[in-house]
Symmetry: D2
Subunit: 340 residues, 4 copies
């Protein structure tokens, strides 16, 4: 069986594994205060072009979202997200557990529309009863989105401008940031993205690491005592070196983006083959997640040799997801293409 | 420098590392639904003699405490712990973040006293205003305690009996369970411990793993939808295999306890040397953490070659902590003993 | 100025005031344990035809919603409500403050549709990722709704049936229950309503009292230690007699419903006049809140003598709300009708 | 039966009742935006000598404590209180429900000691692990305390100075502020108290009102959007006029303090009589709560004609509480004195 099930069903990149083996006998202080983390932080800062950035390493995505959002919101504020945003659907209410409402906007293939955001904010403050409501406290978007789509630079800039107009921090969930920035046609650099937002993370779990998300506050703007807030959320790893080592390797020689580029390239090959064979794509994704409508017969046939997820029915077909990753081999994609 | 700083300043046990390397290219479903986790769960059940136990793998201790406690308490209940309990001191308020009060009892070198617990519960229900107060909802103890001490079987049984008398679940934080059960003079087996409580965990982070705590509900008594509660707490690892693989190795051929026994043996050598040299021990710990009162001159001298923590002043001396682990080598202890 | 601004801009019904004066010098135990509360509870039970009902008096609506919902949900559950539901819009996130998500369904003039509820629940459990999501834990509806509409008996029964099919408690926010049950064309009795739900409240604040909401668990089904949960939410009135006395009066000789009937009658007169004069109604409300579209000129003219709220623009007109209450005099409505 | 059970077992002061009757037919905007509240706010400001103070009216004490504390703490902070503080004992965990730990200091007859507070804060920041702990975020004291005691001006100033040294807001729970400031020997004025703290409240429920607590931020220092935070806590009264009217009356012509002075005077008569008869007082309270040790025979005898609370056993006696209030009549005290 060849798996296109997800981008987190393998171990870790071999360079990381090698480094884990090499460093295993070293002794290091806990809680992210070790030299590996320090080195990784520097490399993250350099990759973003933000020498003054605050960088923290957390373990997983939901945890990171909840911790960052709780840390940046006041108690009477909620977070704006599109309806399909991960925090609004697939985090078991972790944001509400922390006391905050997710204020949902329409999703456009996973993207937020700056115009709609602006209108929502205008309407909120125009409503005479607004102080009986949940205040908007920050804006959350994903890059790449849950639907595999990305924002153009102009779209992201428009969201960023709207946020600044209303003095709202912009938080970019980068669980798949590598695949997003390396997407076909992406016109945004990491540095530009860091300029446009107030906090984001470089996702490790789905981009080559065993676990780990690198949270970046680009302008030395981490909330006060963010370390303690991480601890309070159960998100402080005792052996923080595990995260530091992984990001130190990923940030070395552009590895993080190289492996993302590889995954995207394989996804594009797959998409071209689907389209060439006449399959209908559910969305036009330029990233490592491809969504295609398949009939039951095709699903059955492909499922004999390949693993993939069936998301939800669309008409009489099923929207199926095929995911590539840094670990997807060219021959895996060849095999799937042959089987179409 | 030779480090006695903590039991989580190394990588992981070499057997785990080997297995991580061997399995790295396998594909596995996420979120703990993989075969490694299944195998590890079986081994945990077997080690506890509880074939029907529910077993979950979480990442770290604070996270595990908060998740288990939130899952088992009703909203109007708090958790009873000794004042020095980890949840009451060193978790940045993670329990309160979840909405629950820590109801503090006196600490006896880190231990709760069953008689005092019984009295507290009696007094609570005798107080005519008790329904204006926080109800006791569960009892939390650590084994080994933060002070390195353990409970005798009789002491633990008495606490267990009191809990059952008042229909309170008993939760044993086993972040250092290996060192506790392998302590000098410990008369409790893992199976007996599982019998006496309602939930406990086998700590991995401090006992050989890179990360991971194995939560055990011994009698198929996990709270409903505990999986979702884990997710809500940001404690669900996407690549759950990382936890499964580690515990699969640790639970193989009694490795978990073998390495704990080694650490305790080294700690006992250290304690004997301290005592023989006339140093005053702060507590009489039979586990891998040794607390000794040192004067500034001795501290200065030892600190040239050894790493250890200074906890707090006691009179004109300092209470210093020396910790051994599975990774402590005999020659490390030899060197320290020579330097005393 | 004659006010149609709201149904909570007056003092209290004169019969209540009289009773407050008569009882002022009596001494009574606090916290709702007094004889006035006991008598009021009995009358509520009798009015509902539920001799075994648990009855609690809280102070206000948002407080009651938050307390009841928190008490009945497990930590991993959310509450289903229509988008326009009070808890989803105008309670400043009180439900999320308690850790729970409001799961929003479409609003049909303020009403939930049983078919859509059923479909939502079906889809939830059909989604293979449902245990990464917030579980539905109860259903919340308002009667009358925020739009002034009510449910027919058949509609409410269908919602009730769906809740029971999925084992979900049904909670009816009755902040305006009097006006709802006395609405033109309402075919539901209080007893039937109590049969169909698991908890509801008789709103006092908007129906004749100075403050107070009577929460009813019809079948002796209050959550364990609900008294303590009320206290924890800051919702336990020290001088609970203030609530008991008010409900004792309101429940005497059907006063609660008599005054609601009066308010509805006045509202119907108003609606007829609006329609007769050719004004377009925003919704077809059979209760004490009337929504009508007015142009700026008319608003300006009426605002010289009458107080009313401008809700939001609809096309080039404004949706305006006129509210009657037990305190609205026939001559007030006469005056407004003449001015139309 | 003559009751000394509590200071909240009567109705309200007759002047309030009269005003409620007079104003009952007026129409007023909701949520505290009415003219009665505005007038009451002005009078509170004047009484405190703080023309720029922010004043809010809430319903009850626990609610007020939870709302103020949540509003002023960051998520990683807790509140310092003595062990016997109301928030630590008798609020069913309302503070923890909001996510915050109560950090308990020793109680000295209900009072906090400035020296111990200072030491605690010094030790906290001296502890190398402090960022794994709950940060102190504010100091909470009661005036008068739960034991009936008060602070001298020097004691309160010392606490205030310590708070400012550590940049911690000081919150004074004034549920019984009237009785405290009018206590025998009290050397603090309301204006001085307002100078020394950052927020306090004038308790109405126990000092003549049916309900209501007037929260004062003396230097225009209310947290941003405190109105919305009140709403989120379910603490915003729809008919806010009920609170405004009551405080408008209480603050008129010094009524609030006059009635407190009366209650204290009666309590002093009672205390003198107890002492003269040779009874042992549990504490030396100069306020309206008197604690005296009685044997079972005396309790039995007095309980035939008088209502009072038995708090807890002290040796073979019972600590009994006798409370006076504005409603206590001279002849009630005469009768009790005769019966001693």
């Amino acid at each position: 069986m060849i798996s296109f099930e997800s981008d987190y069903n393998n171990g870790c990149h071999e360079a990381i594994l090698r480094r884990l083996v090499e460093t295993n006998d070293d002794r290091a202080t806990g809680y992210g205060l070790d030299d590996y983390c320090a080195a990784a932080r520097d490399k993250v800062r350099q990759a973003c072009g933000k020498p003054e950035a605050d960088v923290y390493f957390l373990v997983g995505g939901t945890q990171t979202n909840a911790t960052v959002i709780d840390a940046m919101l006041q108690s009477y504020q909620g977070v704006l997200s599109v309806e399909t945003g991960h925090i609004n659907v697939h985090e078991s209410g972790a944001i509400e557990f922390g006391g905050h409402k997710v204020l949902a906007l329409p999703s456009h293939d996973g993207r937020m529309d700056a115009g709609e955001l602006n209108q929502w904010l205008h309407d909120f403050y125009a409503d005479p009863t607004f102080d009986h409501m949940v205040f908007p406290g920050m804006v959350y978007i994903t890059f790449a989105t849950e639907m595999g789509t990305i924002y153009t630079r102009a779209q992201l800039q428009a969201i960023s401008d709207t946020c600044r107009k209303y003095d709202l921090p912009l938080f970019i969930d980068g669980a798949r940031l590598g695949y997003g920035l390396m997407a076909e046609g992406c016109d945004i650099t990491l540095e530009q993205l860091a300029d446009m937002c107030d906090v984001f993370y470089l996702g490790g779990t789905k981009c080559g690491a065993y676990c780990g998300e690198a949270v970046v506050f680009p302008r030395n703007n981490a909330p006060a005592h963010f370390f303690t807030i991480i601890k309070q959320h159960g998100a402080l790893m005792a052996k923080g070196r595990l995260l530091g080592i992984q990001f130190d390797v990923l940030m070395q020689d552009d590895l993080y983006f190289k492996i993302a580029r590889h995954a995207v390239r394989q996804a594009m090959r797959l998409r071209e083959a689907f389209v060439a064979r006449g399959y209908e794509m559910y969305s036009d994704s330029p990233t490592n997640q491809q969504f295609v409508l398949l009939d039951q017969e095709t699903i059955k046939r492909l499922a004999e040799d390949f693993v993939f997820e069936q998301w939800f029915p669309v008409g009489d077909k099923m929207n199926c997801r095929f995911v590539t990753s840094w670990a997807t081999r060219t021959e895996d994609v060849d095999a799937l293409i042959s089987a179409l």
